[in-house]
Amino acid sequence: MILSTFAWAGWANFEYRKQAAERLLAAAAKGELVVDAATGAEKYESPLTGKAAPAFELEDLSGNKVSLASYKGKAVLVNFWATWCAPCKIETPWLVELRNQYAAQGFEILGISTESDGVGKDDQAAWDKDKAAIAKSVQQMHMPYPVLIDGDSISQQYGGLDELPTSFFLDRNGTVVAAQLGLTSKSDIESNIKKALGN
């Protein structure tokens, strides 16, 4: 009885500290909307800009592990999206066109599905349902780039991802050169892709 109480207290303490650390991590990486003094328009500023993008390794829809590190040498757009996100669905055809336009210059998109519905692999039926919905969505929108799942597991490193879509543009060295929050415009995205490519 006493041993199990100590074990429970130890586990609760570990969980509490883990969650506190995750909150701190997310707060440190969380961006904000600021008003551009020159244009008066709002723009998203991420503390990750100018830094190495947080490393990750996630599964694609076939179960293959895909790491960000394996894209070193390419300019990469890390696009967090979800099947339930209507603005993401407006943005995706723009991304598909831009990916096809700039792929030959060494550009790739990693679409990271962030369903944020609290479903983990321990609930296999719900996990499979999420995966099937993502796969169907990918097929319907003809997404030619790798789509990775379980973006929630890396959301803290990228600022919590409380709003979707959110995108990070990485240069060929893996450094974040720009970030975008929400639906902007195809030309804004293209401009940041060019920045990532060094054009």
Binding site: D117, S137, D162, S185, S187
Partner: protein, 158 residues
């Protein structure tokens, strides 16, 4: 001059440019339960209770019957074992809404205030019920993760 600005704005929207002004920074929940805090119903009999909710200005949530299979419907539920059973929930029809960047696609949403009519059956006694409202909110440019908020009602079954 004003007409010129309006035309330019219209052209930008047509080109897929997006109004980026006044984006909301959401600190709390997008939806707030308003009332009633307490209801008295006949024990063992089905009774209708009208629940009032308010959505943060500038946001919308999907109605109970969104038009796209991927969108998350707003749903109300009462967990088992609280002495109050939800027999049926009646939801209002959504209003049509389109994102400025895609005027052709109509969404079915709730904005401002909305009500859900819950048909409940309460056991005799006083029950502190923590019902749940599940929804997913967006503004014109971003979507927030799906969320479940507690709906606290003191149900007295006489």
């Amino acid at each position: 001059m004003a007409a010129g600005l309006a035309l330019t704005l219209g052209a930008l929207i047509a080109l897929g440019q997006v109004d980026s002004t006044s984006r909301l920074v959401l600190n709390g929940s997008a939806v707030e339960y308003l009332f009633p805090e307490q209801v008295t119903v006949a024990a063992g009999k089905a009774s209708d209770v009208v629940l009032h909710f308010r959505i943060t200005q500038g946001l919308h949530i999907n109605s109970h019957t969104p038009k796209d299979e991927y969108l998350i419907p707003t749903t109300f539920s009462i967990p088992d074992g609280l002495g109050v059973k939800l027999e049926e929930a009646s939801y209002p029809a959504g209003t049509e809404f389109a994102l400025p960047a895609d005027p052709a696609t109509k969404l079915s949403v709730y904005t401002d205030e909305f009500v859900i009519q819950a048909r409940i059956v309460a056991e005799p006694g006083n029950h502190l019920v923590e019902a749940k409202l599940h929804f997913q909110a967006c503004d014109k440019n971003v979507c927030y993760p799906p969320k479940t908020i507690p709906v606290a009602i003191d149900v007295i079954g006489n």
